[in-house]
């Protein structure tokens, strides 16, 4: 469980969240658009890989330990990533220089939104108990 107790910059999800926050800050300075374009290309390449990693960690947390702090860390990383993308989507609407980036940002945001929704649904104790009740009744 490599990332079970991971903290700080060893964790690629945490790193992505940090990068997005930096990028979101830079996005408020439109003259930095070249830097944004470069980073978005890198983000796009890493996107699916990190999403898979997040899903793997999510599954592992539940199957192996159901550790609340571990799930909490994952949820926090996903929340940071989502906030970063939300800011970038907003910036891409605001500045015409970023307009071509709007669609990729929105797509990446939608995928992390989905992930976040899954973590929230799956971790909700009431939903879990209802699902167990249904499976017992079937």
């Amino acid at each position: 469980m490599r990332f079970q107790e991971s903290r700080g910059y060893d964790d690629p999800l945490h790193e992505l969240g940090r990068q997005l926050c930096d990028l979101a800050q830079a996005a408020s300075l439109p003259y930095r658009f070249l830097m944004i374009y470069y980073h978005v290309a890198v983000l796009w390449l890493k996107h699916h890989q990190l999403l898979r990693l997040a899903r793997w960690r999510f599954a592992s947390c539940h199957e192996v330990c159901e550790s609340a702090p571990c799930l909490g860390n994952l949820a926090e990383s996903i929340h940071t990533i989502r906030s970063g993308y939300e800011t970038l989507v907003a910036s891409s609407r605001e500045f015409s220089l970023f307009l071509p980036l709007r669609k990729p940002f929105e797509q990446m945001l939608a995928d992390w939104d989905e992930m976040s929704e899954d973590v929230a649904i799956s971790s909700d104790p009431e939903i879990r108990s209802l699902l167990f009740r249904i499976s017992d009744a079937v």
Partner: protein, 122 residues
């Protein structure tokens, strides 16, 4: 092993109301559900339910040019021991304003399904 499907009245009501504005897609959604009987291991798993699998499948509404990303979400349960598939809920992406609203709607729907399948143990 061929799977059977258990479609509750609560699910039928939920699906009818969700697809009210997308009636042309009903046959394709039904085809997706039928396809699950052959291949129940589709979609993302909600982990931590042991032998029982709870999954979420994204369904495109091609008739309305909605991709999987923007289309329907189908939550279903697979009970391998009984070879049974139970569709629980469908909702559209963006149907609810926030994540909290999605959670509340899912809870409400699961309560209906649970009530229909058996009495409350409490």
């Amino acid at each position: 092993m061929p799977f059977d499907i258990l479609r509750t009245a609560s699910f039928e009501t939920n699906m009818a109301s969700c697809l009210e504005a997308y009636s042309r897609s009903i046959p394709s959604v039904e085809a997706v559900i039928a396809g699950l009987l052959r291949e129940p291991n589709q979609g993302n798993v909600y982990p931590g339910f042991g032998q029982v699998q709870v999954r979420k499948l994204r369904v495109a509404l091609k008739e309305y040019r909605l991709s999987k990303r923007d289309g329907l979400r189908l939550i279903f349960m697979v009970v391998p021991k009984r070879a049974m598939l139970v569709p629980l809920m469908v909702y559209r992406k963006g149907q609810f304003k926030s994540e909290g609203d999605v959670n509340s709607a899912i809870k409400e729907q699961l309560r209906r399904v649970a009530r229909e399948l058996g009495p409350d143990p409490c």
